[in-house]
């Protein structure tokens, strides 16, 4: 049976229907009914997403979309139900599918009360994220983009860790929603100029300069797009929501909180619709990326709370991607896209591990820990592997991404790229230091006072099941990155190669 044309709809519908079914199931305490249901739904979704790399046509023309579905939705304004996948979005979809069952496993014991609400919202969140990745109609995309805020906000507000949860939830929502409102104006303005919301059509118009508008208006419009995405990434200095949201959000949701949605949107929409404007702001963005790496790492060094440390390490990691993609070199863009996957995996693994620690000892304060290595040999192994992946040890996945990004940054034609590459590279050193120092303080030395009071146990079978897939992926992605790269390159090459003439024009203007 060939269901290539409906596979994306199927991927979207499975968690949606799952959420509806879970919401209707009766809730009883001390039963894992909803967790079971969510696990089954997320596993089915994951298997469905695997259909994509399996049947993906790797030799398709760059810039083309596959598994497309294109139906009329609303006649006026012309909004279509247009889904499709290319080298950029395919692995992100698989990644989203992969992380969901792990998220369910990670919440297995921590979510006892109101599990129905939790898993329904969790599945809705997955629908929204998958929707963002597959939508090729700007309007449809915006729908999923906004929708992705709601379950997350409710998850934070309801299942947050401390009394600060409501504040964190509202902050998260407002930070993302207000720039999105301006994005909506920009979208509507663009529609007024082009009469279409269809992304491939807009992309074609942009490359052939068919959008009739003043350069200034187009630049403002592109900035409205970029700002909305940058907050969601978050790009330094728009990271104000990150720390509180990360420290409140439960493990399953924090894995998908930052990074990929915003970065994907920049690559797809800012680069797709506003190539020239994106080149024009690239010097600023690589600067912000490099500053973000250094700043995130330095702040992570002084954080005494594990979750807050992880929040700033997230900032540093996503800044790496920002640096890579705005170099507009093949290596930089490919490495950036690959690094989105790495960052999500490493971040997810780290949050799962922190969640395990919290489950045992009920604290995220680093000074409460110490000397756990003797007690949890398996856990410390996992922690160290994750850390090595995060700091970019060769043979593990982080190295591939970081190396590509830094070499891309060095080759780049963007002004001041050398300075910022140097700054970013020092960031790598800081990155290694805060991660390794954290490991040392938590796992080595004398037994801390919290482990002295409570006896924790080493990894259970379920927890092994959560962590081994990560370890396997770190290794495979490190040694066989071409499995992923062959699809990503179909996206990266045309983006980076685009307007060499315009690029030099922009740069000469800058130089003058």
């Amino acid at each position: 049976m060939n269901f290539d044309h409906s596979i994306l709809t199927l991927i979207l519908l499975t968690p949606l229907v799952g959420a509806a079914v879970l919401a209707l199931l009766p809730e009883r305490e001390d039963q894992k009914l909803h967790a079971m249901g969510a696990l089954i739904v997320t596993l089915i979704t994951f298997l469905l997403t695997l259909h994509l790399p399996w049947h993906y046509n790797y030799s398709a023309a760059p810039g083309s979309f596959q598994f497309e579905q294109n139906l009329n939705w609303i006649a006026s304004p012309a909004i279509r139900y247009h889904l499709g996948v290319d080298g950029l979005s395919m692995w992100l979809i698989v990644l989203t599918g992969f992380l969901a069952p792990i998220g369910v496993l990670a919440s297995w014991n921590t979510i006892q009360l109101r599990s129905k609400l939790f898993y329904s919202l969790f599945l809705l969140q997955q629908v929204a994220m998958l929707g963002v990745f597959v939508a090729l109609d700007l309007f449809l995309y915006y729908g999923f983009w906004e929708m992705s805020l709601v379950p997350m906000t409710l998850l934070i507000a309801t299942f947050g860790r401390t009394e600060n949860r409501r504040r964190a939830a509202i902050k998260f929502f407002m930070y993302a929603f207000i720039p999105s409102a301006v994005l909506l104006v920009a979208m509507v303005w663009l529609y007024a100029k082009t009469e279409t919301f269809d992304l491939p059509a807009l992309h074609a118009m942009a490359t052939s300069h068919d959008i009739v508008a003043s350069p200034k208006a187009l630049l403002l419009c592109s900035l409205a797009f970029l700002a909305a995405f940058a907050v969601k990434v978050p790009i330094f200095p728009l990271h104000g929501w990150l720390q509180e949201a990360v420290s409140e959000t439960p493990t399953a949701a924090v894995m998908v909180l930052a990074g990929k949605l915003g970065l994907y949107s920049i690559l797809r929409f800012s680069f797709g619709i506003f190539p020239e404007q994106s080149h024009a702001v690239a010097p600023l963005l690589i600067a912000l990326g490099a500053i973000g790496i250094a700043y995130g790492s330095l702040v992570a060094l002084i954080k005494t709370d594990l979750k807050k440390l992880a929040a700033f390490s997230t900032l540093a990691h996503v800044s790496f991607v920002v640096l890579g993609i705005f170099t507009f070199t093949v290596a930089g863009v490919d490495g950036g896209v690959f690094q989105i996957l790495n960052e999500s995996l490493v971040g997810a693994a780290l949050f799962v591990l922190l969640g395990l620690l919290y489950e045992r000892y009920g604290t995220y304060e680093i000074r409460d820990y110490g000397g756990l290595a003797s007690r949890h040999p398996w856990m410390v192994t996992m922690f160290v592997i994750t850390t090595l992946a995060a700091v970019g040890l060769p043979m593990l996945n982080g190295f591939v991404g970081e190396f590509l990004i830094l070499s891309g940054a060095m080759q780049s034609a963007i002004t001041h790229h050398v300075v910022w590459t140097v700054v970013a590279t020092t960031g790598v050193i800081f990155g290694a230091s805060y991660m390794l120092w954290m490991i040392q303080r938590v796992f080595y030395g004398s037994i801390g006072h919290r482990p002295g009071e409570v006896r924790g146990w080493d990894l259970s079978a379920r927890e092994h099941l959560e962590l081994w897939p990560f370890v396997a992926l770190f290794l495979i992605m490190g040694v066989a990155s071409s499995l992923w790269m062959k699809a990503i390159d179909g996206f990266g090459a045309p983006v980076a190669g685009y307007p060499t003439t315009t690029l030099s024009a922009v740069n000469t203007k800058e130089a003058r």
């Binding site: 609303i74 304004p77 609400l117 906004e146 409501r166 929502f173 301006v182 909506l184 104006v185």
Partner: protein
């Protein structure tokens, strides 16, 4: 042709049922349930909806119908509002059928007044003669003044009713003054004739014409609670019964907006450049005052009152679009707003009952634990009010702001959408409170009674409408776009 009763069919049905309810009421002994009267009223509302459909059928077959010497006109535009008002009243009646906890002796009035109010609102939307509009406005206002004070014996209820009455009469005075000035300037009170007489008036007495339009807009601005004429709204909404607020924050506003659309686009297109400025000021003021005011509210009904002011502002933004965009955007928005706001107030009705002890944000804290279903519904309506995609509220906002941007009002659209960003704060505060762990034992106030079948029907209707407008807005857009040409051309033959 002169007295074409067909043009008043839905209004006639409503009036007759309303009178019937009033006549039957004394025959039911005191202390007995008035529910049968409620069912009769619901039947009346249904029939008036059917009558509106019949009108649609006739209009489709033979074109626009006029009656009563050209003062009443039935076209796609007025039928749309007839249907909207009939649905709002129907849903409100369904939702308040079991609202009275003990058999209240005067419950019959409640049902009758609802119907009379709807009569007036429908009459407003099909009148193309300002004096007729005025009569409709009075009929609808007087009914809602009484309904606002329906929870007798409570200070807030009396305050609500009297405030509404005083400011409302003040507003109608403005409106009447505007009509008089229109007559002075153009020699007529018919909308078509005003449009025809306006060029001459502009040549000889432009100030009079400006004043006339300004007064009419101000009078209607009171009715739609646009800032700075909004001061009555929070107090009135706070004191009035929750189901009534659901109705009076949507149906009379829809009617007033219909009149405003007809008057501005059909009657005074010549002055467009001037009134658009006035509308812009009202829109920005309403959005800002509504949203900023709501930030400080602790009473949920007051909060929704300020939100209603802000939504009036969004709706006014629609007027700045091109004629087609403006009319279709405004009509879509009224429908979407009606669905979600009536729905929100129906949930409040269910949560707090007749005594309305669940009022403040603190009372709502943790309510999702006790009433998960109703909380989820209220959450859904709040998300729609924020304008989250796949809800009616989002498409409403989208059409409105798209219209403004198409016509070059980008700044206004940015102000509006930033406002909707501010707005999400207070909606979320309520939503987050509902889903947090309870702080106090206030949740125990929440009546544990079951949602009855009619109320469930009403809730289902509003949810489906809100969701339907968000997922498949095509149907309504088609209907709305058919109504657009009506306001574009002057159709009364006497002009030609």
């Amino acid at each position: 042709m002169s007295t074409n009763l067909l043009t008043l069919l839905p209004e006639l049905v409503l009036t007759i049922t309303g009178v019937l309810v009033m006549v039957l009421e004394p025959m039911i002994p005191a202390g007995q349930s008035r529910k049968p009267l409620g069912w009769l009223a619901i039947l009346g509302a249904l029939l008036s909806g059917a009558a509106a459909f019949y009108q649609l059928h006739i209009v489709n077959a033979t074109g626009t119908q006029t009656g009563f010497y050209g003062s009443i006109q039935v076209d796609a535009f007025s039928i749309f509002f007839h249907l909207l008002i009939a649905s709002v009243v129907l849903v409100t009646l369904l939702g308040s059928l079991d609202y009275f906890e003990s058999p209240v002796t005067h419950a019959g009035e409640y049902f009758a007044l609802g119907l009379f109010g709807a009569t007036g609102m429908m009459f407003m939307t099909s009148s193309v003669e300002l004096l007729m509009v005025f009569i409709g406005l009075e009929i609808s206002s007087i009914s809602t003044y009484i309904l606002a004070g329906f929870r007798k014996g409570r200070a807030t209820a009396s305050e609500s009713s009297i405030k509404y009455f005083l400011t409302g009469s003040f507003a109608t005075a403005f409106f009447l003054y505007g009509i008089a000035l229109c007559y002075g300037a153009t020699g007529s009170t018919g909308i078509a004739a005003i449009s025809a007489g306006l060029p001459a008036a502009m040549a000889t007495k432009p100030l009079l014409a400006y004043l006339a339009v300004g007064m009419v807009v101000i009078g209607l601005g009171f009715k739609v609670s646009a800032a700075p004429f909004h001061v009555w709204t929070p107090d009135v909404y706070q004191g009035a019964p929750a189901p009534v607020v659901g109705m009076m924050s949507t149906a009379p506003k829809a009617a007033a907006f219909a009149v405003l659309l007809r008057f501005l686009f059909n009657g005074t297109p010549l002055l467009r450049d001037h009134w658009i400025l006035l509308i812009e000021i009202l829109a920005v003021a309403s959005m800002c005052i509504g949203n900023l005011g709501a930030l400080r509210q602790h009473d949920v009904k007051r909060l929704l009152a300020y939100s209603s002011i802000a939504h009036a502002g969004y709706l006014l933004v629609a007027f700045t679009g091109t004629q087609a965009n403006a009319v279709s955007g405004a009509m879509f928005y009224t429908a979407a707003y009606a669905a979600m706001n009536v729905g929100a107030f129906l949930v409040l009705t269910q949560l707090s009952g007749f005594s309305e002890r669940v009022r403040s944000l603190e009372d709502f804290t943790g309510i999702a634990l006790k009433r998960p279903g109703l909380s989820a519904l209220l959450g859904f309506f709040l998300l729609s009010l924020i304008g989250i995609p796949f809800t009616g509220g989002f498409f409403g906002k989208f059409y409105v702001f798209a219209g403004a941007v198409h016509n070059g009002h980008v700044t206004l659209a940015i102000i509006g959408l930033l406002n909707s960003g501010v707005a999400c704060f207070y909606y979320l505060r309520l939503l987050a409170a509902m889903y947090s762990r309870p702080l106090t034992d206030s949740v125990s106030y929440v009546p544990a009674r079951k949602v009855t079948v009619p109320a469930a029907l009403a809730l289902a209707a509003t949810v489906l409408a809100t969701l339907g407008l968000g997922v498949l807005p095509n149907k309504l857009v088609h209907l709305v776009e058919r109504a657009v040409p009506v306001t574009a051309t002057v159709t009364t033959p006497s002009v030609q």
